[in-house]
């Protein structure tokens, strides 16, 4: 058999134009199918983000007369309105830490309780716990607002049955934010329950059997087998809930529309106020970019420290 020297095999030179033609012949249908999604992404996500980034460096006037003002908006974002944005950052961080931790724990516990049930019971409980996810967040907030009403609310009615004084759930600055946290915690973490439930279902049963043979109890099995093997789902749920908690708005806006001092100011309510009350597009955009950077940074850290041996 003839020996071929690969280096000496003649190669036909292809021009750049021909390469482009070949590329599109090979991949055009793929890009055609991706095009609608790409257009949607460009129009409704990429374009607004880029434009917002540009506006954050401008004194923007919607009807003309826009000027550039460098980093002034970023400085004003933190110093204007009696530094209320700093208060909003603290309040949002407080809200995020409490709600993410509580939601993850509650979702894990509920999913663990659902897992041993039979198939029909599992389906029923997964659907039941998923109901909050398909209910309007505004409606949930309105209902909670009435439950927290100091004079006519259900919670104070329950307290009155035990002879306790009424609590100013949404009108005491020391309590209002915690009331909002409570409303989030007591609304079942729908997505987390379903995702954890699905992840637990995919854990090989023989691992549990082996653990039982070794004498492991339910808690030990949960801690040593279930939790490590659903780590990828945990990472996803943590990131999801963190992003959602930093973007909290409708709960605060519906439950305390006039605010409670600045005790319930969050990042997004502050952006909303800066934009729609003060009509300051530049500062509002700067605050939005700050929020974006915060979420991105936290997400990167979460991926870095929770990822380890995660496989997708």
């Amino acid at each position: 058999m003839a020996q071929f020297d690969v280096g000496k095999i003649p190669v036909r030179q292809v021009s750049t134009g021909q390469r482009i033609v070949l590329f599109f012949r090979k991949n055009s249908w793929g890009y055609a199918f991706v095009l609608p999604s790409m257009l949607t992404f460009a129009i409704f996500t990429f374009f607004p983000v880029i434009w917002s980034f540009i506006i954050s460096f401008q004194d923007f006037r919607p009807r003309g007369g826009t000027t550039w003002n460098g980093f002034d908006n970023y400085v004003k974002a933190f110093t204007t309105q009696n530094n209320v944005f700093v208060t909003a950052l603290k309040n949002t961080a407080y809200y995020a830490i409490l709600t993410v931790t509580a939601n993850i724990l509650i979702a894990l516990i509920l999913a663990s309780l659902i897992q041993p049930l039979n198939k029909y019971a599992q389906t029923f409980f997964r659907a039941a716990y998923y109901l909050p996810a398909v209910t309007s967040a505004v409606i949930i907030a309105v209902i909670w607002r009435w439950m927290f009403n100091t004079q006519w609310g259900f919670l104070n009615y329950l307290l009155s049955l035990f002879g306790a004084d009424a609590v100013r759930w949404l009108s005491d600055p020391d309590i209002a934010l915690n009331s909002i946290v409570l409303s989030t915690v007591f609304t079942a973490p729908a997505t987390g329950v379903v995702l954890f439930s699905a992840a637990m279902g995919s854990v090989p049963k023989d691992l549990y059997e082996a653990a039982e043979l070794e004498g492991a109890g339910p808690v030990r099995k949960w801690w040593s087998i279930t939790l490590p093997l659903i780590k990828s789902t945990t990472l996803y749920v943590v990131v999801l809930y963190t992003i959602a908690s930093f973007e909290v708005f409708e709960k605060v806006y519906v439950m305390v529309p006039s605010g409670v001092g600045d005790s319930t100011q969050t990042i997004v309510t502050q952006i909303y106020q800066m934009l729609y009350s003060n009509l300051n597009y530049g500062v509002a955009s700067a605050q939005a970019i700050v929020l974006f950077l915060i979420i991105a940074t936290i997400s990167v850290f979460q991926f870095k420290f929770l990822r380890s041996d995660v496989e997708y």
Binding site: L39, I50, W51, R63, G64, Q151, S171, S277
Partner: protein
Amino acid sequence: MTKRLFPQYQRFGLFMAMALFMTLMLAACGDNTATPVPATTAAATKAATTAAATTTSAATTSAAATTAVATTAGATTAATAGGASVSKSGFKGTLSYWALGYAPGANTGFSKSTDAAVAAFTKANPDIKVEVVGYTADQAGFAKIVNAVQAGSGVDAFRIPNDSLPVLVKQGAVAPIDEYITDADRSDILPGLLDTVKFDGKYYAWPLWVPPVAMYLNVDIFKEKGVDLPKEGWTYDQFVEIAKKLTFTRANGEKVYGYSALVDPGLVDTWPFILSDGARPLSADNTKYTFNTPEGISGLKKVTDLALVHKVTPPDFGTQKLDDILTAMQKKLQAMWSRPSGDSATLKANGLNFQIIHMPIGKSGKAVSAGGIGLIAVAANKDKARLSASMDLVKYLTSAGVEKDVPGYYLAPAARKAVTVQEPFSFFAPIAPTAWITPSLPAWTQIRTLIHPNLQNAIFGKMTAEDALGQPTVEVNKLLAAQ
């Protein structure tokens, strides 16, 4: 070997490049043509206080003047047998009118009268349809309308309080009315009111009414406790004494409170108390913050003492919504409520037995109220016919003709001499002249947002009145200086 033209990472770059290209194409489609916008003046506020002082006589003008105004032809309209005029704009289509406090199908006085007024206009102008959109009378609602007008589409005419107008005028979002206002209009509108809407030499809105804050007395609760109704000229101390008597628990456990009011950045319902000792938030020329004076501090203390010392307010005082207080009044769980005139129609429609009285007098020795001027403005529009039709609609909605077609349309002392306001709004007519009018300044929306959380914190007992009014000083003065 053929060189790979598009390695894996380059495909991602191609995707992002295409997205960026589309973004730039979309950005290039925007119209950034600079349009001249007028400067706003602080003199508009001064004119407003003069205007309020003349409202009393305007509200009691006889019907003869109404007829005279109705027959005066405007530049673009022809008079009809009813109050509504036929528009000569030539516009055929649908106009969008954003009305403060309107809710479609709602059982409120304003919603019904707005529907009736619009129906009268469209009856006289069959080619023009009017779609009414409502928004709430609080910060959230004002933010909604301002944003809608700024967007430049979907709004032709809109109700707006005077203190929210300047920022829109500054953005070039409002059409001047100079071309459409006649000499008859000028002489009919109360003196000084037009000056509150004048910016850079042009007028930018049609004044509708001046709704001052007054005290609503829930008469049945007074009767229940055997307390005499107060008389005009009552003092703050007398008010507190009455409020204490009217704060009690019924045998069935229901708690009744003596007083409440809304506390919101867009409202001044509690401000008559703060102003009652002589304080004003800004200097006469609107260049300096003056709320942090001993008079202002003692005035604010009058409000905070109601909650913290005398305990005559509901537990949620400072964070209540309008529905909370309306419900409390209608269920006879609240004895007194300071509020402008608009909600009197709702309370009357629901059969509540109430009376209106001026706010209690403070150390200034004079009765003081607070409020704004209700305006209807037209959004800037390059379509001349549409703009003209919108002007005709707004002119009608602020005229004496609309009261002729829809008796009870005016929910506050009117801005025109020719309009005779019906009860219960006529009770507010003597109060309007004493009202401090919110300033027509572009920075006012930011200033009131700065002050509001401090007022709340003072009511909650988290801040002293001195700190509450002193803290915004530096930033408010900066905003005023930047104008």
